[in-house]
Symmetry: C2
Subunit: 202 residues, 2 copies
DNA sequence: ATTTAGTTTAACCGTTTGGTTAACAAAAGT
DNA sequence: ACTTTTGTTAACCAAACGGTTAAACTAAAT
C-alpha cells in the first residue's frame, strides 16, 4: 500500500495528535501511534527521528497557531472592556477549535514548567504585566470597581480555559452530553466577558 | 535498616504522591518512587501489589478526604449567596492544602473519564443539578440577574480550581513568585465569591 | 535499461520497566 | 526455645518499549 507524497506524514501527525492528547507524552507509545496511522513503526522514526521530536512537532504545531492571536489580543491598545471581549473570544474560540490543546498544555507544563514554557513561547509570552497595568489604571481612575489586577486576569483565564479540561466531569456530573457542552462553549464567547464586566462595572 | 511499623508504607505513599503528582501515572516509575522513599523496589510490591493499585491508593487517599466536604457544600440547603461562599471556600481551601490534586485529577480524568470518575466518586457525585435548579429558581424569582445555571456553575468551578493548574504559566508570565501566588490564592477564598456575587446581584 | 533517491517494511537489538523469587532478618506468638 | 508471621533486600525475569538495520519496493532521472 503505497501512499502518495506526504500522506504518511500527515497520517502520523494526525494519529500522534489524537493519541498524545488523551494519553499524554508518556502514556502514548510509538507502536500505538503507528497503528493508528496505519503505517509501520519504523516509519515514525524515518519522518520524526524519535518520540521527543514527534511530540514537539505535534505540540508546537498545535500551539504556535494561536499564540500570535492571544498575544495580539492581550497587547492591543484598546479600551479595557473591548480587550476583555477580545481575549475571551480568542481563548474560547481557540479551545473550541482545538479542544485537546488545553488539557495537553496543562498536563505537560506541570512536569517541566520552565523548559515547556520556553518551547511554547520562546521567550515571547503575552505581556500580562501590561494588561495588569491597564486594569490598575482603570481602577485608580474609578472606571471599574477595585480589584487586584492579577485576580481579574486569573478569573478571566480560568473561565475561558478551565471548562475544556473539566469537560468529562462536567458532562457526567451535569448529566449533559457533548452537544450541550459545545453549545455552552459557544455561548461563553459572549457570556464570559459579560459576566466579568457585570462584576467590575460601577 | 529496619524501620518501625508502618514507617515504610508512609514513606512510600509520600514519595508516590510527590512523584505521581508531577510526572503523572505513566511518567513515574516504580524504581523512582522506591528511591525517593528510601526503600527497595520490591517493597513497593509487597505493600501495594502493583503500580495501578499504588496509584489508586495515592489518588483516593487524596481525593476522598475532601469529597464529602465538597458534596456537603454543594448540597446544603442554604441561601444561594451563602452557598457560593461555602463552595468556593471548600474548593480553594482544598486546593491550597493539596495543590497537586487538581493537576493530578484533571490530567488523569481526561484519559479514562468514566472509569476515573467512577473510582473518584463511586456514583456519589455532588448534586450539581440540584444546585442548577436553585440558581434557576433565584433567576425566575428575579433575585439575581438572568444567567444560565450551568454557565454560573462553570464560572465558579473554573475560578476556584483553574489557578492551581495554571500556576507555572502564571508565575512565569506574571513574573511572580510562589509566595505571591499563595497569597493570591488565600485572597481568592473571599475574592472569588465576591466577584461572582457582584456579577449576578441585581 | 539502469541508476538513483525516496519510501516502506519485517526483523532485530539494547534498555527500561513492572513484577517475581528466594533468601534473610526481626518480631510476635506459642 | 522454637515456630510463624511480617518486613526487607538483592538478584532475576519477561514483556514492552524506543530505536536501528538492512533489505525491498516505487518512481522518477539518466
Amino acid at each position: 500500500m503505497v501512499k502518495s507524497k506526504n500522506e504518511a506524514e500527515i497520517a502520523i501527525l494526525t494519529a500522534a495528535k489524537s493519541i498524545f492528547s488523551v494519553k499524554g507524552k508518556d502514556g502514548a507509545t510509538m507502536q500505538e501511534i503507528a497503528n493508528e496511522a496505519g503505517i509501520n513503526k519504523a516509519l515514525l522514526h524515518y519522518y520524526f527521528r524519535n518520540k521527543d521530536l514527534l511530540f514537539e512537532e505535534v505540540f508546537l504545531d498545535a500551539v504556535k497557531k494561536f499564540h500570535p492571536i492571544l498575544k495580539n489580543a492581550i497587547e492591543q491598545e484598546v479600551d479595557l472592556y473591548q480587550k476583555i471581549h477580545q481575549i475571551c473570544e480568542a481563548y474560547i474560540t481557540m479551545a473550541i477549535d482545538n479542544p485537546f490543546v488545553p488539557v495537553f498544555v496543562l498536563s505537560e507544563v506541570n512536569k517541566q514548567p520552565e523548559l515547556f514554557i520556553q518551547k511554547m513561547f520562546g521567550g515571547d509570552l503575552p505581556d500580562f504585566p501590561k494588561l495588569a497595568a491597564q486594569i490598575k489604571r482603570e481602577v485608580s481612575l474609578g472606571n471599574i470597581k477595585p480589584i487586584h489586577p492579577q485576580q481579574l486576569i486569573l478569573n478571566m483565564m480560568s473561565m475561558c480555559v478551565f471548562p475544556f479540561v473539566f469537560k468529562p466531569i462536567f458532562i457526567i456530573g451535569m448529566q449533559a452530553d457533548k452537544e450541550l457542552f459545545n453549545q455552552l462553549m459557544l455561548e461563553r464567547i459572549k457570556a464570559v466577558p459579560h459576566f466579568i464586566i457585570d462584576s467590575i462595572k460601577i
